[in-house]
Every structure is written in C-alpha cells, then in structure tokens.
C-alpha cells in the first residue's frame, strides 16, 4: 500500500513535467485515434456492404455502360430475387467544392434492395410519384439546409447542363455504418432527358444491383450472370457488393498504408519522449531508491515503483487522449463529411490506445528500473547531497 502511495505521489511530484508528458501522450493518442478512424471510415463502405447483394458492371471498366435490356435477362436467372439499376451521375452542387455521391436509380427496386436507407412511407410515395424528385441522406440535407419540397439544381459533369430536382425525401441510416450523404433520383429522368439529345446514349445502365435469395448463392449467381452475357457486345463482371466497394478502395491503398505508418510513428516518437522523462525522473530518485533499499526494500519494490509511476503517467495521458478523441472525431467527421460519411471511433481503436499506453509505459520503465536495481546501495547513497 505504501509503495502505491509513493508511486502515485512520485508520478505527480513534478507537476510541470508530468503535466507536459501527459499532454504529449494525450495528443499522440488523439492523433493515433483520428488516423485510425480515417482508415476505418475509408473502409466503412466495405464493412457496410452486404454479401447478399451483387453488383454487375461492364467487364472492361466501370466507366463503360451496359444495355438496359440486361435487366430482364438477369431477373430470370435462378437465385435472383430482385434487380435494380443505376448510373453514376457525378453532378456538383453550385460548384466543384460541393461534392457528394449522386446517382440515378430505378427507385422502386432500389428502395427495396437497400432497406438500410430508411424513408417514411409518405415521403417514399411522393418520391416515387415525382419524376424529378430526389432523396437525400439526413447528413447531406442538414449540411445544405435542404427541406422537403426544395428545388435543387445540380451541374452535370458526365451529362452536361443544369439538372433541376425537387427534394421529396430525406432518409435515415438504419445502422451506424450507413452512409447518410447520398443523393439519388429517378433513372427515367436521366434517360429521357438524354434520349432527346442523342438516342445512342440512352438506354444505358452503369451498374445493376442484384438481390439474391440466399447469401451462399452469391458465387453461383455471379457466375451465371457473367456466363449469360459471355461473347455479347458488353460482357459483364459481377461481384458481391463488398468486393465491388473494395475495388474502389484498392486504388487508394498506398495512401492508407502511409496513414497507417504515420500513426505508428506517432506512437514511437511518444515512446521516446516518455522513456526520456522516466530516465530523468529515475536519475533524480536514485537516492530515494537507495534509501528504500537501505531500509530493506527489495528489487521487486523498486520495480513496482518505477513501472507504476511510468504506467500512471502513460495511462493518464491515454485516458485524456481517449476522452479528447470523441469531440475531435465528431468535429473532424463533420468538416469532412463528404469524404468520410461514416466517421466513428471504433472500440478496437480504444483498445489499441490502451494497449499502446501500457506498452509505452512498460518499455520506458525497463532501462531505468535496471539501472536503479543494479546500482549498489552505497553508490546510490553517495549521490545524495
């Protein structure tokens, strides 16, 4: 008990030094937490993706389209429950800075295949009835202050011109990981508008979304779809939604690796800082430890004192950092909503925080402890005065 009392008081004896060290650890834990959250939010789309949904796209590349006639054929394949389709629209709101995912879909089937986008029955009804209607995620609508019935114009990038829409519904995410920043409207609206300009470009679909009857059929159905369109003008590539989303992310894999490395470098730097603090502290206390050994306390007591002090400081910093992570992540996520629609600090990150703090605390204590134990009592006592 006395040992615990001494180690706690030692930890906060030099208030300025302990305070600065704790602050340093807190900032490092905060940075670590945010960087990890960036990475996991990057993968959030993958995590949220369902394995019982397939996505079919042009086998050559995502930028090539497929004929609308495939819809009927896919529907007949065994194991397929429902098919929807859509195009990436790529429009911007007012100017390029206001970027968010927007696309057109076949609305009736889309809403059924994606039950995680929760829409009230009334809004669903008016949306389906209005060809120019669109639905926005809760976060997106809040960001631009859109209310039901508002007219919104997007500037087309793939499909030039100004496109007018009316907000008919605001969806809420069913799960924490559901993206609430999407913008979707009627495929018919896009198709009929471009049909007037050039009939060639009409009747094209960017991707088909397929709901299957059982998740374990995913591989079979995907194979069957692609076989159906083998040797046709537009061959298809069908994969689970998860794999499809992963394909997007693979492109930015290098960036993710870089961020991951930075987050670990942060931990290593702070480890050096804490180790230095502990070395300084132990050097100052060599006399104290010598007195305790003189009185008959042993190496184990000295070990508990030094490791304990180190851990008290790192865990105090860790706790402060963890507490700061939540408001910081909220602010960060809010500012970068369009890039990271899902920005949630995971429990795993918190465990890693604690693990890192314990690791730092122990590693920083090893060398000072060895020194304090090895030095002879007589030598230790001679350092006093």
């Amino acid at each position: 008990m006395m040992i615990l009392k001494i180690l706690f008081r030692n930890a906060f004896h030099n208030k300025l030094r302990s305070g600065l060290t704790i602050l340093g650890i807190a900032v490092a834990i905060l940075a670590f937490g945010l960087l990890r959250t960036v990475i996991s939010s990057w993968y959030a789309g993958v995590e949220a993706a369902s394995t019982s949904r397939l996505v079919t796209r042009n086998a050559i590349s995502i930028i090539f389209t497929l004929p609308i006639s495939y819809n009927e054929k896919i529907r007949q394949i065994e194991g397929v429950k429902m098919v929807s389709y859509g195009n990436w629209f790529g429009g911007v709101y007012i100017n390029e800075k206001n970027f968010f995912p927007n696309f057109c879909v076949e609305p009736r089937t889309y809403l059924e295949i994606y039950p995680e986008f929760v829409l009230s029955p009334a809004e669903k009804k008016t949306f389906l009835a209005d060809r120019k209607g669109f639905v926005a995620g809760r976060k997106l609508a809040a960001k631009y202050g859109w209310k039901i019935g508002d007219a919104v114009t997007l500037k087309g990038t793939i499909y030039p011109g100004n496109w007018d829409f009316v907000l008919r519904g605001i969806y809420k995410g069913r799960d924490d990981t559901t993206d609430e920043t999407q913008f979707y409207f009627h495929w018919d609206y896009l198709n009929e508008t471009i049909k007037k300009a050039s009939s060639q470009m009409a009747g094209q679909v960017g991707f088909y979304m397929i709901a299957i009857t059982r998740p374990d059929l995913a591989a079979d159905v995907a194979l069957a779809v692609d076989k159906t369109f083998k040797n046709s003008l537009a061959e298809t590539l069908t994969e689970t939604e998860k794999a499809f989303n992963q394909g997007f992310i693979a492109m930015s894999g290098a960036i993710v690796t870089a961020i991951q490395m930075v987050s670990f470098v942060v931990i290593i730097i702070i480890m050096a800082v804490v180790a230095n603090t502990m070395a300084m502290t132990t050097r100052e206390r060599i006399g104290d430890y010598a007195i305790m050994k003189t009185l008959g306390f042993g190496g184990r007591d000295i070990t508990v004192l030094i490791f304990g002090e180190s851990l008290v400081i790192t865990l105090a910093g860790c706790l402060t950092g963890m507490i700061l992570t939540f408001p910081a992540a909220a602010a960060f996520g809010h500012a970068l909503e369009t890039f990271f629609p899902i920005f949630i600090v995971s429990t795993e990150t918190l465990y890693l925080d604690v693990l890192a703090a314990i690791l730092i605390g122990c590693l920083a204590a090893i060398i000072p402890t060895r020194q304090a134990i090895r030095i002879g009592i007589a030598d230790g006592l001679r350092r006093i005065g």
Binding site: M1, M2, K5, I6, R9, N10, H13, G287, D288, I291, M292, K293, T294, L295, G296, F297, G298, G376, I377, A378, L381, I384, G385
Partner: protein, 235 residues
C-alpha cells in the same frame, strides 16, 4: 565494568578496496575491533580515510573483500543480498548527513516506512510511528512533508525512523554535518539520551570534535588504518 559487557559487534581482519576500471583503490586495511552493547562510539578521521566505507560494511549495505563482521549473533559477511536486506530491516537504524527522508511522504509516513517490512498491523504501525515521533519531540509535525521542516527537524524525523524498528545498532554518518550549531546540539543530545536512557548502541562517524565529545569511545581512522586501540574518550 566494560569487560563484563558482551560484544555486540566483532570486526575481524577487514579489508576493502574499490575498483575503478582496472585500477584498484585500497580503502581499509586489516581492521579489527569490537563494540560492546550499549556503546556510543565516534569514528573520526580525515576526509577519504574510509569512515563511511567502514560504517557501510558493518551496517550491511556494502560487501567487504576479506574479513568477517559479526553483529549480534549473525555473521553478516556470509549473508546473500536478500538475506542482508532482511537483516538490515530488523537490526540496523540509519541516520545520514542529508536526512534522506522520502520527499513525497509526510513525517509520520516516513517513520512508518520501515515498519511496512514487518508483520505489524496498520494500527500498530501508526502507534509505533507516533511514539517514535513523540520521543524526538515532533508529534506536532506529523503531517508535514520533509520540505516543510527545518534541517534539524528533518534529522529528528530521520532519528525516529531509525529507532522505530528497535534495531540492534544505530549507525549515523555525519548526522550533524549539514546542521547549524543549535540544531546539531539538539540532535547530539537526543542521541546521547537514546544511548543513556534506552541503551541503544550507536556508531557515529563525524568530523566534528564537538560531536565526538558526546561519544563514550573514540576511534580514529587514517588512510584506511585504525590508529588507536580501545581508548576512553579523552575529550
């Protein structure tokens, strides 16, 4: 009368050298002497003569190269590190020049500290520590931290810590070396009382003739040699 008393410390042919790299620095040569129970001995000598080294050896915080030291009925040169630590906790009280209190502990906690190595209950520890502080006249300063006490007061706390375990011997290395004259006198008077009234055996290293005057026996150390045989304090 001295012959009737039993020896509490017996030192035989003690040699000690320090090693500085490949250099061997001899410090003590063939030291042999006895200390009888209830003695108050002052060890004097010029700086560097080996006083601290000798005190450390007989208090069991350093190891001799040759020779034997018996304290009570224990040959401490035969003990392992761990056994020595245990032995010190039970048999030696330490008083240092710089008081050497633990700065983060209050006076009472500093005095209680060595009792944590005993089997005493929490209440017994507290009672013993309070009594020791009362004996050095500091019971009203129990809850003060060392830095809130004067040098003389800190040394009195250190004395309380040294006697609280009721050790076989008390060792003091220049206990008044860092004190003003008045405080030094107080500390010496206190040690004299401990010796006279409670029969504590005290071995004190000192430079200060006034301190040596309080002791019953004087011994001189010069360049590692004990230069006189048993002599009653001539001062």
């Amino acid at each position: 009368m001295a012959e009737q008393k039993q020896n509490i410390v017996e030192i035989r042919h003690l040699y000690k050298a320090y090693h500085r790299g490949s250099l061997v620095v001899p410090v003590l040569y063939d030291i042999t002497f006895d200390i009888v129970a209830g003695e108050f001995l002052a060890l004097m000598g010029p700086s560097g003569s080996g006083k601290t080294t000798l005190l450390n050896l007989l208090a069991g915080i350093d190891k001799a190269d040759e020779g034997s030291i018996r304290v009570g009925d224990m040959d401490i040169t035969a003990l392992s590190e761990t056994e020595l630590a245990h032995w010190r906790a039970n048999h030696v009280g330490f008083i240092f020049q710089f008081y050497n209190l633990i700065p983060v502990l209050k006076a009472i906690e500093n005095v209680e500290l060595p009792l944590h190595l005993t089997s005493l209950s929490k209440k017994e520890r507290r009672d013993h520590a309070e009594m020791a502080l009362r004996m050095v006249g500091l019971d009203h300063r129990m809850d003060h931290y060392p830095k809130e006490l004067s040098g003389g007061e800190q040394q009195r706390v250190a004395i309380a810590r040294a006697i609280v375990t009721d050790p076989t011997i008390l060792v003091a290395d220049e206990p008044t070396g860092d004190l003003d004259r008045v405080s030094a006198e107080e500390i010496l008077a206190m040690m004299e009382r401990l010796n006279a009234e409670m029969g504590k055996t005290i071995i004190m290293v000192t430079h200060d003739p006034r301190a040596a005057q309080r002791a019953k026996i004087l011994r001189h150390l010069d360049k590692g040699y004990l230069t006189d045989d048993d002599s009653q304090n001539p001062l």
